[in-house]
C-alpha cells in the first residue's frame, strides 16, 4: 500500500471499508491502529475549508496564539504586532512608523525630518548650505552651532542688537589665512589691511619707519603743531620754528623776516652761549653782551676783521673805529674844542683838540671836576 499521501490513504481506507462491507472478509486494515497507519503530512489542503485549526504548526509556522492575530484579506494582511529580526526587500509604510530605535543600514530617505535633537557622531555630508531660517514663531537670533558637554557651551550663533555672529570662543585661523571685509583683507597673522586707517593703539612695536601728517605730541613734552609748522620741546606753542623750553625759559631756533636765522630766548631772559658747559658769551635780556665769564679766567677775544663801535659807516682804513671817547689804562681820551668844564677827570686824561690852531690838546694835571687842564703839543 502506498502511503505517500492522504489521498492514497483515504483511497486505501475507502477500499478497505468497501471490501469489509462487501466481502465480510478479513479487513485489510486494523481499525484500532488505522490512525497510526495514516501517513503523516499527506492531507491536501483542498480537503480543508473553514473552521479553526488549533495548535497549528508546520516547519515554518508555529501558531501559539490564543486569539486572532493575523487577518488576511485580498491585498491586505492585518497583523496586530510583528516581532521580527529582519524585513527583506522593500518595505512601504503608508503612514507613520513609530519605533524606539531605527537602525538603517542603508539610506534613509524622507521628505521631512523633524527632530528635537540631532545627536550624532557624524560626518555631515552636504552639497548645499545649512540654513537657519526665520519662521512665524521664531527669528534667527540665538540660532547656530553649539558644542556642549564640557564646561560652558561653546557657541557660534547669530545674535541681534547689533546683528552679528557670536562666538563664545577665540577664533584661530589656519596658516596664511586672514579676515576680510567686503572682499578686502583686514587682518592676517602679520598685517592689518591697508584699508584699516584708524585706531586707538597705545602701543606699537619697533617701527620700521614713521610718517606723520598732522600734529605730533610725545609724552606731553614734545609738540609738533602742523598748522603752525612749529616744533616745541617742553613747550606746546613755540614762538619759533623750533623752541626748547626748560625751567620756564624758551630758547628759540628759527628765522626772522625770511632772511635771517635766529637763536636765543623769547622772553626777558638772559641767553648764554656755552662751551664745556660754561657760559662764554652772555646776552642779557636787555641786549648787553658779555664776552667771557667773570667767574672764570679772562678770555681772549680775537677779531679777524675790523671792529666799529657806535659808528654808522665804519672807516675801511682802520681796524678799530670808535664813534666816541676811548678810555684805556685808566685814562680817557676824547675830542673837544676846549678843555672840560665839568665832569670828573684825573691826571693823564686827554682831550684832543677838534679845532687845533695853536696846540694839539689838553691834559688833565690835577684830578677834580673838571680838574686842572693844561695845553700840550704846541703846533709850530
Amino acid at each position: 500500500m502506498s502511503k505517500n499521501n492522504i489521498d492514497q490513504a483515504l483511497t486505501y481506507l475507502a477500499s478497505s471499508i468497501q471490501s469489509l462491507v462487501e466481502t465480510a472478509d478479513k479487513p485489510g486494515i486494523n481499525l484500532a491502529t488505522f490512525h497510526k497507519d495514516l501517513p503523516k503530512r499527506s492531507l491536501s489542503g483542498d480537503h480543508i475549508s473553514g473552521g479553526k485549526i488549533l495548535g497549528f504548526a508546520s516547519a515554518g509556522i508555529n501558531d501559539k496564539a490564543t486569539a486572532e492575530q493575523i487577518i488576511v484579506e485580498d491585498n491586505n494582511v492585518y497583523i496586530s504586532k510583528i516581532r521580527t529580526g529582519q524585513v527583506l526587500g522593500d518595505l512601504s509604510v503608508e503612514k507613520s512608523v513609530i519605533a524606539e530605535n531605527i537602525n538603517v543600514l542603508g539610506t534613509l530617505k524622507a521628505q521631512t525630518i523633524e527632530v528635537n535633537e540631532l545627536k550624532a557622531d557624524l560626518r555631515l555630508e552636504r552639497s548645499s548650505s545649512l540654513e537657519f531660517k526665520k519662521t512665524d514663531q521664531e527669528g534667527i537670533f540665538g540660532k547656530g552651532i553649539l558644542w556642549v558637554g564640557e564646561g560652558n557651551a561653546k557657541q557660534f550663533v547669530y545674535n541681534g542688537n547689533p546683528d552679528r555672529l557670536f562666538s563664545s570662543e577665540s577664533i584661530y585661523l589656519g596658516k596664511d589665512k586672514h579676515i576680510g571685509i567686503d572682499n578686502i583683507p583686514v587682518l592676517s597673522s602679520t598685517a592689518l589691511g591697508n584699508t584699516v586707517v584708524k585706531s586707538n593703539l597705545r602701543e606699537v612695536g619697533r617701527l620700521k619707519g614713521l610718517l606723520v601728517d598732522g600734529d605730533v605730541v610725545l609724552d606731553q613734552y614734545v609738540f609738533y603743531n602742523s598748522t603752525a609748522s612749529r616744533l616745541g620741546v617742553g613747550i606746546e606753542l613755540p614762538n619759533a620754528g623750533f623752541s626748547v623750553a626748560e625751567d620756564g625759559i624758551e630758547v628759540m631756533v628759527g628765522s626772522r623776516e625770511q632772511t635771517r636765522g635766529i637763536i636765543g630766548t623769547y622772553a626777558s631772559k638772559q641767553f648764554d652761549i656755552v662751551t664745556d658747559n660754561i657760559s662764554r658769551i652772555s646776552i642779557g635780556a636787555g641786549g648787553d653782551i658779555l664776552l667771557g665769564n667773570t667767574t672764570e679766567q679772562p678770555i681772549q677775544v680775537s677779531v679777524h676783521g675790523k671792529v666799529a663801535i657806535r659808528v654808522k659807516n665804519p672807516d675801511p682804513e682802520v681796524d678799530l673805529h670808535v664813534g666816541g671817547a676811548v678810555r684805556f689804562h685808566g685814562h680817557i681820551h676824547q675830542y673837544a674844542d676846549a678843555s672840560p668844564t665839568s665832569g670828573n677827570f684825573k691826571p693823564g686824561d686827554v682831550v684832543w683838540n677838534t679845532n687845533p690852531q695853536t696846540h694839539a690838546g689838553w691834559i688833565c694835571v690835577r684830578a677834580g671836576n673838571p680838574g686842572e687842564w693844561k695845553k700840550f703839543g704846541k703846533l709850530e
Binding site: 540654513e131 558644542w147 614734545v222
Partner: protein
Amino acid sequence: MSDKINLALDAITKALKDLTEGREGSISNPTFVEFKSNDTGLYGKGFIWSGQGNAKQIVFNGNPDRFFISENIELGKDKSVLIDNAPVLSVNELGNSVTKSNLRQLGRLKGLLVDGDVVIDQYVFYKSTSSRVGIGIEMPNSALSVAEEGLEIVIGAENSKGKIGTFASNDLNIVTDNTARITIESNGNIKLGNKAEGPIQVSVHGKISVGVQTMDSRADLHVKGPIKFNDKLHQYRASPPEFGSHERGDIVWNAAPEKGKSVGWVCVRSGEPGEWLSFGDIKG
C-alpha cells in the same frame, strides 16, 4: 554598535542631502546644531567642507579652547569683528579697545600722540622720566641735545638763563652760510670772524668795555689796560719804561702830568726798554 549608528546617521545625512539638494529650505526651523561631548570630548568636532583640495574646517579645538577655521573669514560690507560686544576691527578701523600691538609698520599717520619714551632709529631719544630729547645721544645733558661726531650740543636753560653750546670740552662755531663766523673755544676764547675767510666787520651799537668792572659812561670803548693800535702799544705810566721789550713808536702816556713836563714819551729805538723821548710839553 557605534559603527552601525554611524552608518545609520550617515544614512540620515545622506537623506538630508538628497532632501535638500537644489531646494530652498533644507532643515525647517532648526535652533542649534549641537555637538555633544562623549567619550571623545568636543575637540576636533565641527564643520568640514571636503572634496576640493584640503578639507575646510570650522572645528572646536583645545589648548587653548578655540574655534579653528582653516580658511579666510570674509565679512560682509560694513560688518565688523566684535569681542564682548565691543568693535575691534572693521574694514577701516581698529576698535578703541585695541590698544596694544607689535606693529612695525604704520601708514601715513594723521597725528601722533605718545605717552612714554620714544626712540627713533636708535638716533632720536626721548626719555619720559627725564623729559629730555637727545638727537644722536641717548642720555642728553639738557632739555635738547644734539650729538654729532661724539660732540654734544646742548640747548636748554640753566640758572634762569637760556643756553646753547657744547657740553664737553669742545669748541663751538656759530655759522652763517655754513661758515663759522664766531668760534668759541672750549677754554672760552672767542674768535670773531674766520681766518679762512675774508676779514669781517664787527659793529657794536653801543659800548665796549674790556677788563672793566664799571664802564665809563663817557667812553664808547673802555679798556682797563694798555691798548695797541697800528701795532703800537699805548699805555699809561708816570715815567718812561725801564725794562720790558718795546717797539719803536710805542707810546707811554704820562700818568702824572704837570705843567712844564711832557704829555708822554715815545719809543724812538726798539729794545729793552728801548730809547724813549718825551713829547708834548705841557704849557701853562
